[in-house]
C-alpha cells in the first residue's frame, strides 16, 4: 500500500553522488517537508518524484505503480509541480498561465474549451485571485505569482503538489498566507511534498518532515517529534535553542540573540 514513495533512491550527476539511498513515504492528504542545507539534493529528490530525472537505482512508486510506467500525460493528472519561480518570456496574462494547467486535458490542435477556461477560473477563485486574471504575469508580485502557479496546479486536477521552496522570496505576510493556503488545501485532501529553508515553517504546517544531509536521510517522522534542537544544529551547523512559547509552540532562538533569563 504505497501512495507516493521512494525506495532506496540513488542519483548522481556526472559521477558525483547526490542521493545515496533515500526512502521516503508520503501518505495521502499529508504534508511532507524536506529540510536540509543548500546543495543536499532536495531539488533533485523532488525532480525524481516528478519523474523529470531518472534515478540511477531505486524507484518511485505512485499509487502502487512505478512512476516510469505512467505516461507524461497520466503523470500530470496525478502530480503537479509548483516551481520556485517561473521565467515567463512572453507577456501572458495570469489566466493564460493557469489555463496551461489544462493542457493535459486538451487534445492536439484543439482550442481551449469553455470547460477548461471555467476550471481555470474556478481554481483562481478558490485562491482568491480571480481579480488578477487579466493582469500580465510578469507584473504580478511574488506572492501573487506563487498563487497563480498553485492555481495552475489546482486546474491541472492533480491531487499531489510538489513545491520547490514555495515561500522563498515572499514577504513575511505573503509567506504566512501561502502556508495557510497549503494547510487548508491539505485539509481538502491535497497531498504536499515541499522543500523549505525554514524549520519554523515545517513546524507551522505539522505533517511529516524528512531531514536530508549529504545525500542521506538524517531523520524523519512526525514534524513535531523530528525537529529538535539537536537536529537543527547538526543539519545546518548552527547554534540555536529550540524553546516552547507560553502556549507550547516551539520557536528557534539563535544563541547570539540576547534573551531575558
Amino acid at each position: 500500500m504505497s501512495f507516493y514513495s521512494a525506495n532506496n533512491l540513488h542519483f548522481s550527476y556526472n559521477d558525483k553522488a547526490i542521493l545515496k539511498g533515500i526512502d521516503l513515504h508520503i501518505a495521502q492528504g499529508s504534508i511532507v517537508s524536506l529540510l536540509g542545507p543548500n546543495g543536499t539534493g532536495k531539488s533533485t529528490l523532488m525532480k525524481l518524484f516528478l519523474g523529470l530525472l531518472k534515478p540511477r537505482s531505486g524507484e518511485v512508486i505512485l499509487k502502487n505503480k512505478r512512476l516510469e510506467s505512467y505516461s507524461v500525460k497520466e503523470r500530470a493528472l496525478h502530480v503537479s509541480y509548483v516551481p520556485q519561480s517561473t521565467h515567463v518570456a512572453f507577456a501572458f496574462c495570469a489566466l493564460d498561465i493557469v489555463l496551461m494547467g489544462r493542457i493535459a486535458f486538451e487534445s492536439w490542435f484543439q482550442k481551449a474549451r469553455l470547460l477548461d477556461i471555467q476550471k481555470a477560473r474556478e481554481a483562481m477563485e478558490r485562491l482568491g485571485i480571480l481579480h488578477l486574471e487579466k493582469r500580465t504575469f510578469q507584473t504580478l508580485s511574488g506572492g501573487e505569482k506563487q498563487l497563480v502557479l498553485i492555481a495552475r496546479s489546482l486546474a491541472q486536477g492533480a491531487k499531489i503538489l510538489v513545491m520547490d521552496e514555495p515561500v522563498s522570496g515572499l514577504d513575511y505576510g505573503n509567506q504566512l498566507r501561502l502556508l495557510e493556503t497549503i494547510l487548508s488545501l491539505s485539509k481538502e485532501g491535497y497531498t504536499f511534498l515541499k522543500s523549505t529553508h525554514f524549520p519554523e515553517h515545517a513546524l507551522m504546517l505539522g505533517g511529516y518532515t524528512y531531514a536530508l544531509k549529504e545525500g542521506y536521510v538524517l531523520a524523519h517522522g512526525l514534524t513535531c517529534k523530528t525537529i529538535t534542537q539537536e537536529l537543527i544544529n547538526e543539519l545546518y551547523n548552527t547554534d540555536i535553542v529550540l524553546k516552547e512559547t507560553v502556549c507550547g509552540y516551539p520557536v528557534c532562538i539563535p544563541k547570539f540573540v540576547k534573551t531575558k533569563q
Partner: protein, 338 residues
C-alpha cells in the same frame, strides 16, 4: 473579440490583394471583367466575358498558380519564423536558424550545376535543406546531454549555416560563369516566375498541411516557453513537440526554396508585426503570422511583377521593404516579448 475582427480584416485584405494581383500585370484586366470571368468560370453564373480564351489563359494558367504559390510560401515562411521565435524564446530568430535555408540554397546551386532538369534542382534543394538541419541537430546532440539544449541548437545552426554558405561559394566559384553562374545568382535572389500549375499541385498539400499544423501548435509552444521541466510536469511531451515543430518548419522552409529560391526577411519581420497586432500568445500569434505572411508576400510579389518593366527578384524586394520595418520592430524588441 478584438482579435476576431482583426482576423476578419486581414483575411479580407488577403482576398482583396489576391484579386487585385490577378487583375494586374503586363496585360491589365479590369476588375469588373475579372469578376465576371471568375463568377462565370467558377460558379457558372452570368455570361462569359469578351475574349474569354485569352483571359482564362492569363488568369488561370499564368497568374493564379503564381499567386497560390506566393500565398503558400508567404504563410509558410512566416509561420516557421514565428514557431522558431517562440521555440527559441528569442525575437531575432528567423526560419534559417538551423541552417535550412543555407543548406537548401547550396543544394539548389549544386543542382543547377550538375543537372539539366528542373526537378533535379528541386530535389537537391530539398535534400540539402534537411541535411543542413540534421547536421545542426547532430552538432547540438554531441554536447547536448542536459544543460541548455536551445543554446546548443542555435550554435549547431550557426555551424551548419556557415558550412553550407562556404560550400555555396565553392559551387559559385567552380560553376560555368556564362551559363550556370547567372542562373545560380538569379535563383538565390528568389523569384516566382518559374511557377506553374504542375509545381503548385505538387507542393500545395505538404505546404498547406504543415502550415496548418504549425499554426495550431501555439499552445504547446506557450507551455514549452516556461522551460522543459515545467512543460513536462504539465503533461507535455517536450521532445516530441519540439522535434515535430523543427521537422515541420524545416519541411516548410525547404519547400519555399524549392518553389521560389531564397526569400529573406519575411520569416523574421512578419512575426514581429503579428505580435504587435495580437500580442505574444502563440495560440493567436501563429495563425496571425500565417495570414499576415500570405498577404504581405502577395502584395510584394505584385509590386515586383508590375512596378518596373522588368521583374524585380522578390528576395531583393522583401529585403528592401523588410529592413525599415525591422528597424521599427526593434523598438519593440528592446522590451522583449511584451
Amino acid at each position: 473579440m478584438k482579435n476576431s475582427i482583426l482576423f476578419g480584416l486581414i483575411l479580407f485584405l488577403l482576398g482583396g490583394s489576391m484579386l487585385v494581383s490577378l487583375a494586374l500585370g503586363r496585360y491589365e484586366i479590369h476588375l469588373d471583367t475579372l469578376w465576371q470571368l471568375l463568377v462565370w468560370k467558377l460558379l457558372g453564373i452570368g455570361s462569359a466575358p469578351h475574349d474569354v480564351a485569352m483571359l482564362s489563359n492569363i488568369v488561370f494558367d499564368i497568374r493564379l498558380p503564381r499567386i497560390l504559390a506566393v500565398v503558400l510560401v508567404g504563410a509558410a515562411l512566416s509561420v516557421s519564423g514565428g514557431t522558431f521565435q517562440a521555440m527559441f524564446v528569442n525575437p531575432l530568430v528567423s526560419p534559417g536558424i538551423l541552417g535550412v535555408l543555407a543548406g537548401a540554397s547550396f543544394g539548389a546551386a549544386l543542382g543547377i550545376m550538375v543537372c539539366e532538369e528542373w526537378i533535379g534542382v528541386q530535389f537537391f534543394a530539398f535534400l540539402f535543406g534537411f541535411v543542413a538541419v540534421i547536421l545542426a541537430l547532430g552538432v547540438a546532440k554531441i554536447y547536448g546531454s542536459g544543460g541548455s539544449k536551445m543554446i546548443l541548437l542555435v550554435l549547431g545552426g550557426v555551424v551548419s549555416s556557415a558550412l553550407f554558405s562556404a560550400l555555396l561559394s565553392v559551387v559559385k566559384f567552380v560553376a560555368d560563369p556564362y551559363n550556370k553562374l547567372p542562373a545560380i545568382v538569379y535563383w538565390l535572389m528568389g523569384s516566382f516566375s518559374a511557377v506553374d500549375m504542375k509545381m503548385v499541385t505538387q507542393v500545395a498539400l505538404p505546404l498547406a498541411l504543415s502550415t496548418l499544423i504549425l499554426s495550431l501548435m501555439g499552445k504547446y509552444l506557450n507551455v514549452l516557453s516556461l522551460g522543459d521541466d515545467e512543460a513536462k510536469a504539465l503533461g507535455v511531451r517536450v521532445a516530441w513537440v519540439r522535434n515535430s515543430a523543427i521537422l515541420l518548419a524545416t519541411l516548410l522552409s525547404t519547400l519555399t526554396v524549392v518553389v521560389a529560391g531564397m526569400i529573406g526577411w519575411v520569416g523574421l519581420i512578419i512575426p514581429h508585426i503579428a505580435r504587435f497586432l495580437v500580442g505574444a500568445n502563440n495560440r493567436v500569434l501563429l495563425p496571425m503570422c500565417t495570414l499576415l505572411g500570405a498577404t504581405f508576400l502577395v502584395i510584394v510579389d505584385t509590386l515586383c511583377r508590375t512596378s518596373l518593366s522588368i521583374e524585380i527578384p522578390i528576395g531583393i524586394a522583401t529585403s528592401l521593404i523588410g529592413i525599415p520595418i525591422f528597424v521599427l520592430a526593434l523598438r519593440n524588441a528592446k522590451k522583449g516579448f511584451a
